[in-house]
């Protein structure tokens, strides 16, 4: 991790979507309910770093991606690229941004224009950014993603390629502008397992060779760990834990991280993994108010969890009351860390099984 200024900085980001109101609500001037898709999230990305964002559906990771790409305006907080806030970008700033920050999407079947040849799909970004020497760049990029000889593929249409080949083209398209940052939204989840590893290895190699940074978004912890230096676990719009990959997997601190990791099936008939004891499903992020968002389902819930936990730790950060002494912090003004056993002992409240009522509708 370089000590330089970060390329991307997210600071207290909030992205809320107002829910539709009925006519009477509007007339009576009632406040709309808000979907709090991303709530007070902070995050940064330095050169040549690969950070993963993990979470289940509805946790806000896609919204985060959209905001980082500048495709969705923030509600509060700021997002900065190389120190400049997105809100201050003018047209040429945006153009520059778009060249330097690229994206790879999840669905290889839908992210390439079916009416354009591969060559055309790769040419267009170059045309938009007025970059010359196109044939050579196209060929080079195709070689980079191991689609060789390029002539075999360039004049074909997406439907003639396999899923893995299409994804390589998506990566080529992202690389052709020589970007600094690549956002990847589940780039391998729709590929067969035997191809997933191939694409992940390719990405890993390219990141190394080109000195790229990447934000890798996924729900699949097992593949994320392959490519990311650091993992951020998201739940209901907030990052609940951040740690270097191996550390997170060997020592997940947040109860949600632990549940998530424990629920992953193991490809070994001799392993005796216990099924999850978590009930219910993730609620909608509407009208959630203060407090830890996981408390309704958390097996280690305490009274103090009614207040929003702060993030503690340096290399391994976690936002959970089990890991800091709320009262002591208030008293001294400094964040006082504690261990889970200490916390549970002193509050005297035994871990309750999360209610997990069928609070879905």
């Amino acid at each position: 991790m370089s000590a330089d200024a970060p390329l991307l900085e997210v600071d207290g980001l909030k992205k809320y979507f107002a829910q539709d109101r009925s006519l009477s609500d509007v007339l009576l001037r009632r406040e709309p309910d808000y979907i709090q898709a991303v709530d007070d999230l902070s995050f940064d990305l330095h050169e040549n770093e690969v950070k993963g964002v993990i979470g289940e559906s509805g946790c806000g990771k896609t919204t985060l991606l959209m905001t980082l790409l500048g495709l969705s305006e923030k509600t509060e907080g700021n997002v900065r690229f190389e120190g400049t806030d997105y809100a201050e970008f003018d047209r040429s700033d945006w153009k520059e941004f778009r060249r330097r920050v690229q994206v790879i999407f999840q669905d290889p079947f839908n992210s390439l224009d079916p009416k354009k040849t591969i060559r055309r799909s790769l040419e267009i970004p170059l045309e938009v950014h007025d970059i010359g020497d196109r044939e050579r760049r196209i060929h080079e990029t195709m070689e980079m993603v191991e689609l060789g000889p390029p002539e075999r593929y360039l004049d074909r249409y997406p439907n003639e390629l396999s899923g893995g080949e299409k994804q390589r083209v998506s990566i080529a398209r992202a690389l052709i502008l020589d970007p600094d940052v690549i956002m990847a939204d589940e780039p391998v989840s729709m590929l067969d397992v035997s191809t997933q590893a191939v694409i992940l290895k390719l990405l890993s190699r390219l990141i190394e060779e080109q000195g790229l940074s990447m934000v890798y978004i996924s729900h699949d912890l097992s593949t994320v760990s392959y490519i990311c230096d650091e993992i951020n676990v998201m739940y209901l719009g907030r990052i609940v834990e951040t740690a270097p990959t191996m550390e997170l997997l060997s020592d997940p601190q947040h109860p949600y991280s632990r549940e998530l990791i424990d629920a992953i099936p193991v490809p070994n008939p001799h392993a005796d993994r216990e099924r999850t004891s978590l009930e219910g499903s993730t609620p909608d992020p509407i009208g959630l108010g203060e407090g830890c968002r996981f408390r309704d389902r958390c097996p280690k819930r305490m009274d103090v969890c009614e207040t929003t936990p702060r993030t503690v730790g340096t290399d391994h950060e976690v936002a959970c009351h089990l890991y800091y002494d709320h009262d002591a912090t208030q008293a001294t003004g400094e964040v006082v860390r504690s261990t889970p056993d200490e916390r549970l002992a002193e509050t005297g409240s035994p871990p309750t099984d999360g209610e997990g009522a069928e609070a879905d509708r």
Binding site: D192, S194, A197
Partner: protein
């Protein structure tokens, strides 16, 4: 040994297309006993979904079993007319948990109405009895029994899937075919659902044919399994056999390719190429283009599903199953793929 519950013997299923007969399944053989959970695992295009559809009598209109047999309790599925299959087998004996798209339940029907309709078609149970049974099932899968009268959109995704499971179970079939039942669901939800599937096994003594691309699900939840590639059964046996002693190159490589969260530092295996699409009769091993141990022999005929080391219950379809296993133990996976004309000596 008693008659197996479900038995496929040299089963070939083809789809009539404008480019000719597409062979989705070629000479597949496997058996499922009562009270057994059987996993059918493979990647896209291997034919596992086709087999699922054939078992429930739901093949697309251009698909048909062209050779071999698929037997349920000894009777060939082909021999039933649509009417007979509906009256005697469908849903009462064999039911389906379809792929977990959120669109399987009819949005205009209350879930309870859908249940009573199904019951009226297949059994003589009155409406009352059917509802009672259905409510019990709702409880078994962890849903509130009072909610059987809700519409599908009132349930969340995971709950819809559980309602589908309740529908598949409530007539107490002998075999449940579960076709990628948790693919679209989050991992915690998936675990919750498999928890119920585990419990069902204990309580109801049903068999299950679990179709999936995720081998970990099969290893964890199934007793026996088959691995498929390009329409052919590569290997079949108990989950422990296939895990401890895989003999088919595809089984070996597939397991290597699967990440294991308990061993995150392990290098992930890869398999080059993609499975072929076969037309007409298949006369070779469909894995040949991707196989690191392939030889000329593999192009000449379909490898038969032979027993491994004399164990009838563990079979692999590879001409070189013994050699491959020995070589792999010693050398690991070779670099090149495709035919080695030197007989594989490296």
């Amino acid at each position: 040994m008693s008659t197996p519950l479900l038995e496929a013997e040299d089963l070939t299923i083809q789809y009539q297309t404008s480019s000719g007969p597409l062979t989705a399944v070629s000479n597949a053989s496997f058996t499922i006993e009562s009270g057994e959970y059987f996993g059918l695992v493979g990647e896209s295009g291997c034919g596992k979904s086709t087999i699922a559809k054939a078992v429930v009598g739901g093949l697309d209109s251009n698909g048909a079993i062209t050779s071999g047999t698929l037997r349920y309790k000894g009777t060939e599925v082909q021999d039933y007319s649509e009417r007979e299959f509906n009256d005697e087998v469908r849903w009462k004996e064999i039911s389906l948990i379809p792929q977990s798209s959120m669109n399987n339940l009819d949005p205009l029907q209350r879930v309870s109405d859908q249940a009573t309709e199904i019951a009226s078609v297949h059994t003589d149970m009155g409406k009352e009895a059917a509802l009672e049974r259905f409510q019990e099932m709702f409880e078994t899968v962890g849903l509130q029994p009072s909610r059987i009268h809700d519409y599908p959109h009132q349930f969340s995704g995971g709950m819809q899937q559980r309602a589908i499971i309740a529908l598949a179970l409530f007539l107490e079939p002998s075999v449940i075919v579960a076709d990628e039942p948790t693919t679209a669901l989050d991992v915690i939800m998936q675990d919750q659902i498999f928890k119920y599937l585990d419990e069902m096994k204990a309580e109801l003594d049903t068999s299950m044919l679990l179709i999936t691309h995720d081998i970990s699900l099969v290893f964890e939840s199934c007793d026996r399994m088959a691995v498929m590639h390009g329409g052919q059964v590569a290997e079949t046996g108990s989950t422990t056999d296939v895990y401890d002693d895989p003999r088919h190159p595809y089984s070996i490589l597939l397991q290597e390719a699967f990440p294991d969260i308990q061993h995150p530092e392990r290098e992930l295996g890869t398999i080059d190429g993609t499975p072929p699409e076969s037309y007409g009769q298949v006369a070779e091993c469909t894995f040949v283009e991707r196989c690191p141990w392939a030889t000329e022999e593999c192009l000449e005929a379909e490898p038969p599903l032979d027993s491994v080391d004399g164990n009838e219950r563990h079979r692999a379809a590879c001409f070189r199953m013994d050699e491959v296993h020995d070589r792999y133990e010693v050398e690991g996976k070779p670099e090149a793929t495709g035919i080695q004309t030197d007989g594989g000596a490296r």
